[in-house]
């Protein structure tokens, strides 16, 4: 696939050239507010091209954004809490040494003291009025942040309205391109409001002539983030949640607005990725205790954390061969970290491991199994193939949209050649054509005969950009690609095909050619 990477890098180079030319053009001339604004936007666009991809975690209140961020990083960096917790847009970037910077609305920056206590960073604003703060920048040495800068955002339906406005101003600002190259949107269930926010992110009107959207459906992944609660915390909760996610993937209201929908138990994922040895031994002791007593204890979070469990349970918990004492504080800590579903799942997995002597027998294998069961693996695969794997496309799009916005809002008489260059890249790059047509197909702006539309979407990368995904999981990718190429070429050339459908068919042909070229 190095060839495919080459074309994408070519796209980045083209974007770099467009932005560079724009910077040169706007570098001359008067220092009026509009030109200053244009320079700032272009400067930001240029530096973004060389930085890691910016992925925002957005969603409604308590959807589990910070928890999922920690799960993706593999460390507890973002503080989480039962109440509304994240009140400022917070950037997490990879860096050689940890620092936290505060950036005020007027652009001034200053260091902020912080402490890490295993529950995430405690950031001390020292009495600074939070309404003055634009964002927090957390520099954190972590492999989990090497390829992407993750941006945590306040809940979108907060009672404290200013918090929600911060998120919207970041993802869909009025006066500059979106601060995010891609969005992971978290929700508990698909609420009408969620659809409204997703529409704003995919808003085609704001994507300009490119028709690519502020972030675009291609840059949006929806996560059903509290998968454990959907099935009432039962052992099959994640399976139930997976079914719900599948139903949402096919839902006509959500389908045009995102790449895909994935179910994840964020809490379990976070805990599994940061599992401690002491937690493993505590869970193992719990799994060794008589099952009936443990089940009775797990009827509710309150019971599990109770200081005085029924005598028979207390006895069972006190008689662990390794001498692990499951006292109330230990149990409370377990509940905070795993939740009811997490503890039920972990003990079930450990019991099976102990019985069979295979599978989950130590903390490493337990962590792996819990990550698998949390749905995080699937999300990471989706992100790797569709978001991070296509970072050059996403970043180039952000940069080009910035130039487009500058041209529209800070017009000058001498921008003709720049506008032409921009137009050439936006319409010439096959990656953008794919995104544009995919969005048009899913939103129904372009219709194909019903029997050909699913394949068209797939070939254009609707199920993922990998050749196998494009060809519907065929074993012999080459043969399938050749066959599809042939069929779609015929369709593209047929006089009976409508103009719009022919455009789709031509794009599908190019996508097939792309697959064949780099096989």
């Amino acid at each position: 696939m190095s060839g495919a990477a080459d074309t994408r890098t070519r796209l980045t180079d083209q974007a770099r050239s467009v932005v560079g030319n724009a910077q040169r053009l706007y570098g001359s001339g008067p220092a009026d507010p509009v030109t200053d604004w244009a320079r700032a936007v272009l400067h930001d666009a240029r530096s973004r091209l060389d930085e890691p991809l910016r992925v925002a975690l957005a969603g409604t209140l308590k959807a589990g954004k910070s928890t999922l961020l920690n799960a993706l990083v593999g460390e507890r960096v973002a503080a989480t809490d039962a109440g509304e917790c994240t009140r400022l847009v917070t950037w997490y970037r990879d860096a050689p040494s940890p620092t936290v910077l505060r950036e005020d609305l007027d652009g001034r920056r200053g260091p902020v003291p912080f402490a890490q206590d295993g529950e995430g960073l405690r950031i001390d604003l020292r009495g600074v009025d939070p309404t003055r703060v634009g964002r927090l920048l957390v520099d954190w040495p972590s492999r989990g942040l090497a390829e992407t800068t993750l941006v945590d955002t306040p809940g979108l339906d907060s009672i404290r309205e200013t918090n929600s406005r911060r998120t919207l101003a970041f993802v869909t600002p009025e006066d500059r391109p979106s601060g995010a190259d891609a969005v992971v949107y978290l929700m508990r269930h698909a609420h009408r409001n969620d659809v409204g926010f997703l529409e704003a992110f995919a808003d085609l009107a704001r994507g300009g002539a490119g028709g690519l959207g502020a972030v675009g459906a291609s840059g949006t992944v929806v996560v059903l983030s509290r998968a454990d609660e959907i099935g009432g915390g039962g052992l099959d909760a994640i399976t139930t949640a997976g079914r719900v996610a599948e139903a949402y993937r096919a839902d006509p209201a959500l389908r045009p607005l995102c790449q895909t929908v994935v179910a994840v138990d964020g809490l379990l994922a976070e805990t599994a990725r940061t599992l401690r040895q002491a937690e493993f031994t505590a869970l193992r002791a719990l799994a060794r205790a008589p099952r009936a007593e443990v089940d009775a204890l797990l009827l509710s979070a309150d019971r599990f954390c109770s200081a005085e469990p029924p005598a028979v349970v207390a006895e069972a918990l006190a008689s662990d061969p390794d001498g692990v004492r499951l006292d109330a504080p230990t149990r409370r800590a377990l509940m905070d970290r795993f939740g009811v579903y997490g503890i039920r799942t972990a003990t079930t997995v450990l019991r099976r491991g102990a019985r069979t002597g295979r599978g989950v027998v130590d903390s490493v294998s337990l962590a792996e199994e819990l990550v698998r069961r949390s749905g995080l693996e699937e999300l990471r695969e989706v992100l790797a193939s569709r978001v991070v794997g296509r970072r050059d496309v996403h970043k180039a799009r952000s940069a080009l949209l910035a130039v487009e916005m500058v041209l529209a809002r800070a017009p000058r008489p001498d921008t003709g050649p720049l506008a032409a260059e921009l137009e050439r890249v936006l319409t010439g790059a096959h990656e953008f054509t794919e995104q544009r047509l995919l969005a048009a197909l899913r939103q129904g702006q372009v219709t194909m005969p019903a029997d050909t539309q699913p394949e068209a979407e797939r070939l254009l990368g609707g199920d993922g950009p990998d050749p196998r995904d494009r060809l519907g999981g065929a074993d012999d990718v080459r043969a399938a690609a050749l066959e599809a190429l042939d069929r779609w070429r015929t369709r593209a050339e047929s006089p009976l095909t409508s103009r719009a459908a022919a455009e789709v068919a031509r794009a599908a042909v190019r996508s097939c050619e792309g697959v064949l070229t780099y096989l």
Partner: protein, 603 residues
């Protein structure tokens, strides 16, 4: 308790008949009707998938209603107590309501997304009769949740608020109240006597106590009146667990207690106070005549003075009945103002909807987006109309109170004294009577919804026509000619067609909104006329009753026997009558006081 009350009203009615006052008897007959149906209406509301149906099941103590992890309830389900389990479905049809009995086991096929997505069957509600003690004195209404992808019309639940005795706002115990939820609590507490926030699934959320504290703080902070709104943590899973000892941990006993004392008890107390006050008013009017006669009999020299005084009072009562009386003017002017205010409010709200709708249509091709657009429009229009109805109800209540105050002020001195300060203003709980039986069952909102459904169907037809027209233009064969003309012309042709579709869609929106304004405006005008008529009749009748009482009293005072022996005998008779009425009065007072103290315990 209830039997005592029914009995009291019955005895008072007999007394009114016996003393030759059919007018007072008639007045009491309305009271007995309202006392007879004493079931409090409890709405269970909240965002979709918050656990409303689960909670209702927990209150009922069994899985009577269907629940599912993914599919939500789409039809309001009314639970009532009855000897046998049965399910009745109802939908509005021209000129009334069509009802259909179905097997209880089939309920899920009719009221959830599983069998009836988007409520395509068009049921307006399902009534489930269950032999469950927890439903004693209550109609428990499980509503479709707000905000789900499949429940666009659910805002119509808002229009049910004015008729409700209690609203339970159900929220997931894993997160704080959101802004829309807080707004709902605020609206509900303006029109319903009892509002409570119920947290669900506390078994799954270790931090529900924090959430409860945060919600408490949000409520306290939001508005003074929300301080009395309780936050009740519950777990349906624990309540429905086979092990009965878990019930105590489920929070359900507290909720049931709230429903029993504050909601059912509160409604009973309100009705009892109203009925007892009515009986006291009647007693007072009946005994006034005997008191005057007794005074005249005891001292024949005062008879003339008493009679003169009564004549003066009569003149004032006549003035009170007069069309020029202040309360009449308050009522007439107030109704007129209300009609125009409410209509203005509705127009204003719908104008905003129209503007938003047109802006949305400007950015899209209606041929493609109409399917999503039509439900959105429906939701916005329902929300506007619902808010308008709630607001109208509040304003109407305020008007009724003002009229009652003016009536009481105008009649100060001639009106019989009331048992309590609140009784003086709300002499006969006029609003309570208005809101009585027929408003109970999806009455007011139903007529609105029918009107809207009717006109909505119209738009849907126009909408489909637009869609078909749009499809035809994009059909490969019909643009065949365009292909020959070259791409530029084609684009222009398509733009023109798009513009035409957009303007057709905008016209459809405006027509729909006009229809709604006409229908909803007519409904609210009719409702207000009805209110005006009811209030006028009520107070005029009260004045007429007073006049008759005064007539009877002055006649009794004049007709004092000259013969000493006969006078003594009559005096003894009159004293005995007064004693009987006194006893009835005492009884009414006792009953009234009994609910007064019961309410204190509940609070």
């Amino acid at each position: 308790m209830k039997k005592d009350l029914v009995d009291l009203v019955k005895v008072a009615r007999q007394a009114a008949t016996a003393y030759g006052r059919p007018d007072l008897e008639k007045r009491l007959s309305t009271v007995s009707a309202s006392v007879a149906d004493d079931r409090a209406r409890v709405l269970v509301m909240g965002e979709f998938k918050a656990g409303k149906t689960e909670l209702v099941n927990a209150v009922l103590g069994g899985r009577a209603l269907p629940t599912d992890a993914h599919r939500a309830t789409t039809v309001p389900t009314v639970c009532v107590q009855g000897a046998q389990r049965s399910v009745m479905l109802a939908r509005a049809v021209a000129g009334g309501e069509e009802q259909q009995q179905v097997a209880p086991a089939e309920l899920a096929e009719h009221v959830t997304e599983a069998g009836n997505p988007d409520n395509r069957a068009g049921w307006s509600y399902a009534e489930v009769t269950l032999p469950v003690d927890a439903l004693d004195g209550m109609r428990l209404v499980d509503t479709p949740g707000a905000g789900g992808l499949a429940s666009p019309a659910s805002v119509s639940t808002m229009a049910e608020l004015p008729g409700a005795d209690a609203v339970l706002l159900v929220c997931d115990g894993g997160r704080e109240l959101t802004a829309p939820e807080l707004a709902l609590v605020r609206t509900a507490s303006a029109v319903c006597p009892t509002v409570a926030v119920v947290l669900t699934r506390t078994d799954l959320h270790p931090h529900w106590r924090r959430i409860a504290d945060l919600d408490r703080a949000h409520l306290d902070h939001a508005h003074e009146s929300l301080r009395r709104v309780p936050v009740l943590p519950t777990s349906a899973a624990l309540a429905l667990h086979e092990e009965a000892s878990l019930l105590a941990e489920s929070g359900l006993p507290d909720l049931r207690e709230l429903l029993r004392t504050e909601v059912v008890g509160g409604r009973h107390a309100r009705r009892t106070r109203m009925a007892a006050d009515e009986v006291l008013v009647v007693c007072e009017q009946l005994s006034a005549r005997f008191r005057a006669e007794r005074d005249a009999l005891a001292d024949p020299g005062r008879a003339q003075r008493i009679s003169d005084e009564l004549e003066r009072s009569k003149a004032r009562v006549v003035a009170l009945r007069d069309r020029a009386a202040r309360w009449q003017q308050t009522l007439n002017d107030g109704t007129q103002d209300l009609v125009s205010d409410i209509e203005y409010d509705l127009r204003d709200r719908l104008r905003t909807v129209t503007t938003d709708a047109e802006a949305a249509l400007d950015d899209t091709d209606p041929a493609k987006t109409w399917e999503q657009f039509a439900p959105w429009l429906h939701q916005q229009v329902s929300a506007a109309v619902s808010t308008n109805v709630v607001w109208a109800e509040e304003r109407t209540r305020w008007l009724a109170e003002r009229v009652a105050t003016h009536f009481a002020e105008d009649g100060a001195g001639v009106l019989p004294p009331m048992a309590s300060p609140e009784g003086q203003v709300m002499a006969a709980d006029p609003v309570g009577l208005l809101a009585a039986p027929d408003h109970e069952k999806f009455g007011l909102s139903q007529s609105l919804m029918i009107g809207m459904r009717g006109s909505y169907g119209g738009v849907l037809m126009i909408g489909m026509m637009t869609t078909i027209a749009g499809m035809a233009l994009l059909n490969p064969f019909s643009v065949g000619a365009g292909l020959l003309l070259g791409s530029k012309t084609l684009v222009d042709e398509r733009k023109r067609a798009l513009r035409r579709r957009q303007s057709e869609a905008k016209q459809a929106v405006r027509r729909h909104v006009d229809d709604v304004i006409f229908q909803a405006g007519k409904n609210s005008r009719d409702m207000l006329r009805e209110v005006q008529r009811t209030l006028r009749d009520h107070f005029t009748t009260t004045a007429e009753e007073l006049e008759r009482s005064l007539n009877a009293t002055s006649q009794a005072a004049k007709a004092v026997e000259a013969d000493g022996a006969k006078r003594q005998a009559r005096l003894a008779d009159v004293a005995a009558e007064l004693e009987r009425l006194e006893a009835l009065e005492q009884r009414a007072r006792r009953i009234r006081e009994s609910v007064g103290s019961a309410r204190l315990v509940g609070a």
